[in-house]
């Protein structure tokens, strides 16, 4: 799941070196937190959140394969 987010994010941003995904697991839930460069926020969120939501749909498939539920959040760079 983490690799999927990294792959999508790295492919869409201008600064792939600044893509970081943090993963936290709790029971059968997986929480992913995606960090990208400030200039790239728009690329991974998309108009009306369309990119982020599509990524979540694809993540759901990957999660279902492992019998898990997944939650993706996109955060401002620290």
């Amino acid at each position: 799941m983490k690799e999927l987010v990294e792959y999508i994010a790295c492919s869409l941003v201008d600064s792939p070196a600044e893509v970081h995904v943090k993963e936290r697991r709790s029971g059968n839930r997986v929480y992913l937190e995606l960090h990208v460069a400030k200039n790239d926020m728009g690329r991974v969120i998309g108009k009306g959140g369309r990119v982020a939501n599509s990524a979540r749909v694809l993540l759901r498939v990957a999660a279902a394969r492992e019998g898990k539920q997944v939650n993706l959040e996109i955060s401002e760079p620290r």
Binding site: E3, S54, A55, L58, R60, A62
Partner: protein
């Protein structure tokens, strides 16, 4: 129609005829549909003329009761044999071949990271409409891929959107591209065009506005296109995504 929630209203001289007509149109056996008799019709007249016609509603007994996604039937015909599908390699210039290669690699990468074991067959298809640019079709082939379609093609559309964005980013420009699963979109397109014509007939016969099931934008577009030149009906989309639906009413 392999979609859940799909219903079809049929008008015929008798209930039995209506049921068998409906099953024929859907290409499904009698056991695969639930029948609701809306109007048993009335006797009178010669050969059923001037009598009230029977109306039945067929609801496809769907996979919804067993699972959430519509099942992918193993396509009996290989997509490549579709008349509109071009030969994968013949007559492609270098740029087209490179684009095909990039797009295939991107989609394979996504599938691998989604833990889906499948292969991708890529080809260019001629677009029947006024748009002359051939469209790149990426067809995903494998076992048990209904998970890649999702409710109302949600997953398939997400996969297409992300693939298209990544390919566009790599090429520096956008290209027309379709992601499909075992020819699902092509089959669905045919069914939707049939559905459009049938519902238009019904609108004309009953004089009442017909409301279709909620559909994603690309499917609604097909309905609008199919009935664009219909002499008696107009189509309109109503409601909000993701429940937006097409209505067909008399002009």
């Amino acid at each position: 129609m392999t979609q859940e929630d799909t219903t079809l209203e049929i008008i015929a001289p008798t209930v039995d005829e209506a049921i068998s007509m409906g099953c024929d149109q859907l290409g499904l056996p009698r056991e695969a549909v639930k029948v609701e008799i809306l109007d048993a019709g009335g006797k009178g007249g010669i050969f059923g003329l001037r009598s009230r016609q029977a109306r039945v509603r067929l609801r496809i007994i769907s996979e919804e009761e067993e699972q959430d996604e519509p099942a992918v039937e193993t396509a009996p015909a290989v997509v490549k044999s579709e008349p509109e599908a071009a030969k994968a390699d013949a007559g492609l210039d270098d740029e087209k071949r490179m684009v095909l290669q990039i797009a295939t690699t991107v989609l394979e990468g996504l599938l691998e990271k989604m833990k889906v074991r499948a292969s991708v067959e890529s080809s260019y298809i001629e677009n029947g409409e006024e748009n002359e640019e051939p469209v790149l079709l990426l067809d995903i082939i494998g076992d048990d891929l209904s998970i890649l379609i999702g409710r109302r093609s949600e997953t398939l559309n997400a996969l297409q959107y992300i693939t298209n964005l990544i390919v566009g980013k790599e090429l520096g420009h956008w290209i027309p591209l379709i992601v499909d699963v075992q020819g699902y979109r092509i089959r669905r397109e045919r069914q939707l065009r049939q559905l459009a014509r049938r519902m238009a007939d019904q609108a004309v016969q009953t004089g009442r506005r017909q409301l279709l099931e909620p559909m994603p934008a690309n499917e609604r577009r097909l309905i609008h296109l199919e009935l664009r030149s219909h002499p008696d009906v107009v189509t309109r989309s109503v409601g909000e995504e993701p429940y937006r639906k097409v209505t067909i009413s008399l002009k």
